[in-house]
Amino acid sequence: MSITVEEVFETATMVMNQNLDIRTTTLGINLKDCVDSSFSTFRKNVYVKIVRNAKTLVREAEKLEKKYGIPIVNKRISVTPISLVMESHCSRQKFLQIAVTLDKAAHDVGVDFIGGFGAMVQKGMTRSDRVLIESLPDVLSRTNRVCSFLNAGSNTVGLNLDAVNLLGPILIETARKSRNAIGCAKFVVFVNAPEDSPFMAGAFHGVGEPDLSLNIGISGPGVVRSVVEENKDCDLTALSEVVKRTVFKITRAGELIGRELARNIDAPFGIVDISLAPTTAQGDSVGRIIEAFGIERVGAHGSTLAVALLMDAVKKGGAMASGNVGGLSGTFIPVSEDIAMIEAVKLGALSLDKLEALTAVCSVGLDMIAVPGDTPPETICAIIADELAIGVINNKTTGVRILPAPGKKVGDVLSFGGLLGEAPVMAVNPYSAKLFLGRGGRLPAPVTSMRN
């Protein structure tokens, strides 16, 4: 059964013209066995374990890039949630020190990010969780590669509003302390956080994971847009089919490369996260897929339907292609990292309200959105709480990565360059939810959680 010219052409074109790539390969590393009553021994254990297990990651990934002609854009590491392994060392100073250790280990093995500096606080916070949150402004502004997450709720226990209420002031302080508010781009707050996601900033190595796990995040918005453009007249069912078939193929490529890389670095293969993840590179935009569907600009009425169709087709194609689909698997719609989203915000086609509606049907949530620097902290908490409530009630992962841009107003732009792109500052509702949020406590688990 030989491969035809058409098939070779299709794959080669995906790579050469449509930006098909493996967006990330992330090695999950368990740090529970590094715990020691001596803090210096613990730090040493963490550094040694990370470097020992990840030292060949970048080299082996580069070998496979050459073998298969498909770029593996990012090589990363995720670790056990740090608050868990720091329970007996919880001071802000020590949290900063362990973050510096993680940063150094990431630097020394040549990965661009290390995720897992975070906590699971869906039902309540330990002292360690609270101190970790308090340490975030320093950690995120003083390290380059450390990414942080918080899981503040789940559909089985509800939403921890007390934890969310801490975040407004923390994010404002983080933005002030770091250049261009970049520290906030390295923090995401979730509900129903997947424990095996390879994508930053929210990747961490969950407590139910094995000692090591190699996860792959495959992307390819350009490939999907290209087939959508070739199918201008088909109805929604046929359109879904076209997307499914394409996603099937790119997921298979991810599975092949993930398995081989896992074998080569001697780590168990974890999951393929099939998420369409945009970059600001020409042709690498999820927003452009929505436009190719026939929506003038992302954010126009009809966009929610379009994202729903795309999201569902991506999941179905991925599920058929791999028995190991995990992570977030769907479609990311970050504002600053997607040229069509940036344009839509600048034109007034996409507001924060419509973006929130889109996140009800896509994976993740309000991602890489800049808001004015003078946004009250309780409003930032309220934006986060709204988004997380969508996830809790609808049984899905949602998250928020929000950047309060110091000194900037609606219409200004926060520029990062590189993968993070640029974020036009979006308007927030001027009215307050301060009294409501001030009640604190926990949103009870939804009735749909009672399945036992």
């Binding site: 491969i3 035809t4 010219v5 058409e6 098939e7 070779v8 080669a12 298969y68 498909i70």
Partner: protein, 125 residues
């Protein structure tokens, strides 16, 4: 005997054989019996004299055997694919890639070389 899992079963009058996932050639290349190292070279661009000559001369010089060759005009592009065996190759894959890139640059073509497993995975279930 007896230890090997029997994955054949009868469905009505038809015998069905389920291939275990680990036996897929793409999943586990070391199970392949032949020792060939097969890769696809794809050349995309505008048709002109000397494409096949240049590429195949380069392959010949590096002890790479051409197993199959096909060409077609698709969506206005000239597309040529070569299935090559790298097992006797006298240099590294990196060097081959660089050599092909140089030919591509000279002739205004896009040349890509990729291991055959990627095509099997993407286009065969």
């Amino acid at each position: 005997m007896g230890m090997r899992p029997n994955l054949s079963y009868s469905l009505g009058s038809r015998n069905v054989f389920i291939q275990p996932a680990c036996a897929l050639p793409a999943m586990n290349p070391e199970l392949k019996k032949e020792k060939k190292e097969l890769l696809f070279i794809s050349v995309i661009g505008i048709d002109k004299k000397g494409i096949v000559a240049n590429v195949s001369m380069f392959l010949y010089k590096n002890d790479i055997n051409i197993e199959d060759i096909a060409q077609k005009i698709m969506k206005g592009h000239f597309v040529m694919t070569m299935l090559v065996d790298m097992s006797g190759c006298s240099c590294s894959l990196d060097a081959v890639r660089q050599g092909l890139d140089a030919i591509g640059k000279d002739m205004g073509l896009k040349i890509q070389i990729q291991h055959e497993n990627i095509f099997k995975m993407m286009h065969r279930v």
